[in-house]
Symmetry: C2
Subunit: 110 residues, 2 copies
């Protein structure tokens, strides 16, 4: 449970930045090299690499190196943790709505 919470901390933190979200979006189209990913951003490569490392540390992307080219791909399973957390919230909410409905039905005059 603690590991799950720590994982969520990292994932949400990683997604709290527009550059990192844009990288995730771009990788949705398929794997890409760091060079291609960096191209649209007006940013020095070391700064861009910090974003890549953070995404890799949280497991949101995987990278592999062939020769001088590092290729990135998105790890959709890790991204699914966000959806899982939202589903938990929805389940809490729906449980509450069900109980409200039950209450209203039981209170109905005959």
């Amino acid at each position: 449970m603690e590991q799950y919470q720590a994982q969520l901390n990292g994932i949400f933190q990683a997604l709290a930045d527009p550059t990192r979200r844009a990288v995730i979006g771009r990788l949705g189209h398929g794997p890409a090299s760091v060079g291609d990913l960096a191209a649209p951003f007006d940013m020095a490569l070391p700064s861009f690499m910090k974003h890549i490392h953070m995404l890799e540390d949280t497991g949101l992307i995987r990278t592999s190196k062939a020769g001088r080219v590092r290729t990135c791909e998105v790890n959709r399973d890790r991204l699914a943790a966000v959806g899982g957390w939202l589903d938990e919230q929805r389940a809490i909410w729906e449980g509450r709505t069900d109980r409200l409905e039950q209450f209203v039905t039981e209170e109905k005059p005959e």
Copy 2:
């Protein structure tokens, strides 16, 4: 668009903390006072209030004061922005899968 990105930055940042996620989860069951929300946490009230303020600033919760009691409730519309962003990623991914399927189908031998 920039406002949407800034909003997402704030929301993801707010969710990158286990105390704030727990508050959202608790409020899924219904509105609660700050005192009740703070009770399960081994935390000084001013520290806890920082979390409440951050959640309120991003619009994830709304608070109202009656006498000396401040009541909080979750703003599910704001939380839905996270689901919206995930849906965007899924749409990108599905577009890609559709194109792959098309390619495979077209390449099939007669």
